[in-house]
């Protein structure tokens, strides 16, 4: 039995089922991120763990105790809200100790817990202020402090960084990760930002339309996405999905694609065994960073394919240049070194790292494993 068990949990509003039989188990100290587009059910699931939404079917258990129907305050959880939800009429100190006060913790103990957490988050000097007098980042810290003071079994974060500006968001992200490493707490974190999901989590659950599409470590999700949705949702720019057909040459499966001029090219696979699919259509998945200039190619890869193709648009981004080209009629994005010499409309010799390429079934959109 795991620390937090979600077993066949479903949620319906009237006759509309918004969450379909979700199974996730979280071990103690794990950082699970629920990620997906808006309306995928991730916040609903978080609220069900918190007890703010009822559970229609299935079961949620924390530390082996089923919490279906248990009041939020009795689940020993703490939640950090997107809007921080700080009580505007109370000082920071009162905000942070309100929960302890409600649970009947004596004043001396409350002050002690407050002092500890305030020191940890470096908000000692803010304790007498009202939330209205704080900046966005400070409010964020206070909201986390309010959760930490309670010493809950599970921390729930509901898009806590989405109200911050871009720079502060990156800083707070690092801060949350540090905090997790230091305290080893169990966290369930909801976001729609796939970079947040990748950087923070020990495991990710990618959700779409009320289904968990894939549950795994960030590496698994990134390198071996379960389906086209996961492949294109995680990663920026998104993974290139190119229609191709399987051709076996010298006993080795190849993806046959057409370049910008309609000339057919063969891209040999290294990993999925597509021998049984000769002549069949597939969707070839290649991440932008696997399409580079020859000098920028991964030296450790055993399967770099050189290919010359006409450049569509080159978009310098400072550290890299994103280059589009056409393969099988689709715009394909590559990521090449910033100082590579590339001109729009001219041929360029790309290096494609086929070791990282994946293939999807065009009908089911599931990844072809073997």
């Amino acid at each position: 039995m795991s620390f937090l068990d979600i077993r066949r949990a479903t949620k319906s509003y009237g006759t509309v089922e918004v969450l379909h039989s979700v199974d996730i188990s979280v071990e103690e100290g794990e950082f699970l991120v629920l990620v997906g587009p808006s309306g995928c059910g991730k916040s609903t699931l978080l609220n069900m763990i918190a007890g703010l939404e009822s559970i229609t079917g299935g079961e949620i258990a924390i530390k082996g105790r089923t919490v279906n129907g248990v009041h939020p305050s009795k689940r020993n959880i703490a939640m950090v809200f997107q809007s921080y939800a700080l009580y505007p009429n109370m000082t920071v100190a009162q905000n942070m100790t309100f929960g302890l006060e409600m649970h009947g913790v004596p004043k001396a103990e409350r002050d002690h817990a407050l002092a500890d957490v305030a020191k940890l988050l470096q908000i000692d000097h803010l304790l007498d202020r009202k939330p209205g007098q704080l900046s966005g980042g400070q409010r964020q810290r206070v909201a986390m402090g309010r959760a930490l003071v309670r010493k809950p079994d599970v921390f729930l974060f509901d898009e806590p960084l989405s109200n911050l500006d871009a720079k502060l968001r990156v800083d707070m992200r690092t801060e949350i990760k540090k905090l997790h490493q230091k305290l080893g707490t169990t966290i369930v974190y909801v976001t729609h930002d796939q970079i947040e999901a990748m950087t923070l989590s020990t495991r990710i659950a990618v959700m779409n339309k009320g289904h968990v599409q894939q549950l795994g470590t960030p590496r698994e999700i990134y390198d071996r996405p379960a389906n086209v949705f996961v492949a294109t949702f995680m990663g920026s720019p998104a993974m290139n999905i190119i229609p191709a057909s399987v051709v076996v040459k010298d006993g080795c499966p190849n993806a046959r694609v057409a370049d910008a001029d309609g000339v057919e090219r063969l891209l040999p696979f290294s990993q999925p065994n597509l021998a049984g699919r000769e002549g069949r259509e597939i969707l070839l998945g290649i991440r932008p960073e696997a399409i580079t200039d020859p000098e920028g190619a991964d030296r450790k890869s055993s399967n770099i394919v050189a290919m010359s193709n006409r450049v569509g648009v080159a978009e310098p981004a400072g550290s890299d240049t994103f280059v589009t080209m056409t393969l099988s009629g689709r715009d394909v994005i590559g990521r090449i070194r910033a100082d590579a010499n590339v001109t729009s409309g001219e041929p360029f010799s790309f290096a494609i790292n086929m070791e990282k390429a994946v293939a999807f079934d065009p009908k089911t959109e599931e990844r072809i494993v073997h």
Binding site: A85, F98, R146
Partner: protein
């Protein structure tokens, strides 16, 4: 207004030339004077001996200043058949207004809290019906109300009037508080739930402390309406009639000389509490009304 001088130089969309502004202020001043005229007439005539009113100009300042009409209106004037002045009726009004305002405001706040943060099936219908009660004319409910008060044994008493005004006021106070709390973030209530606060604790500790502006609106509205009410007071007041009814009895008495100076003093006495409430809390009134109406 701070940038009036500089904006006169600029080519702004609204013309703020000197001539225009003088004209605008002149018109506003005229209107203000016009609206203050009744107060002036009441004021000067309440401190004149009666002969100056009956013989001379109502607009003139008194030749002999006297507070006798005020004294008479307050404690000796003939109200109906008793020479008690308005004093006991003033007390009746206070005893009626204070609990009626307090109860209707608290109930309205609770209703608003429930209708926005503890929503239930059909809550919009409940709110719609309460809103509807704001549009029911007083006259329609007179007879049923009289029957209910009779059955409750509250007819002709101050508690009976309190009940009538509470029932009538809840529609308005609920409307105010519901719209105000609709803009209050629900996440705060959820956070408080996770923190372990219950229904009343959340109301008391989280919502009420930030309800100042709308509470002022509710209090002013209820206070002026209940204080100024005549119909319910005359119908259900019995032996505990409020100030408005007494003022009517004072002014409408058909025997003896019409003591206009006493009438003016009595009318000002009857209007003083509402004036006081407006002066003290008036600036919150508009602010609160706006805050409640932006979202809803």
């Amino acid at each position: 207004m701070a940038s009036a001088s500089s904006s006169a130089m600029q080519d702004t969309a609204v013309s703020t030339g000197r001539v225009t502004r003088t004209f605008v202020y002149l018109v506003l001043a005229l209107f203000a004077l016009f609206y203050l005229l009744p107060l002036y007439v009441m004021g000067v005539n309440s401190v004149k001996p009666l002969v100056e009113i009956t013989s001379g100009n109502m607009m003139a300042l008194p030749q002999v200043w006297t507070m006798a009409p005020w004294h008479s209106a307050w404690s000796t004037a003939q109200i109906g058949v008793e020479p008690t002045g308005l004093k006991p009726y003033f007390l009746n009004s206070i005893l009626m207004v204070v609990p009626a305002v307090a109860i209707s405001t608290i109930v309205g706040a609770l209703n608003g809290y429930i209708l926005t943060k503890w929503r239930f099936r059909g809550d919009t219908w409940v709110f719609g019906l309460m809103l509807f009660s704001c549009f029911i004319p007083f006259q329609i409910v007179l007879i049923p109300m009289a029957m209910v008060l009779g059955q409750l044994g509250l007819a002709g008493s101050v508690p009976g009037l309190v009940l009538v005004h509470v029932v009538y006021g809840i529609g308005f106070t609920t409307l105010y508080f519901r719209n105000y709390y609709a803009a209050f973030p629900t996440e705060l209530v959820r956070a408080a739930q996770i923190d372990g606060a219950g229904f009343f604790r959340i109301f008391w500790r989280i919502l009420l402390p930030v309800s100042g502006p709308i509470a002022v609106v509710s209090v002013i509205w209820q206070f002026t309406n209940i204080w100024n009410d005549f119909l319910f007071g005359a119908s259900f007041g019995g032996t505990s009639q409020p100030m408005t009814v007494a003022l009517n009895n004072l002014v409408q008495s058909s025997t003896g000389v019409k003591e206009y100076n006493v009438h003016f003093a009595g009318a000002i006495l009857a209007a003083l509490p509402t004036l006081f409430v407006y002066v003290v809390a008036g600036r919150y009134f508009v602010r609160g009304l706006m805050a409640g109406s932006v979202k809803g």
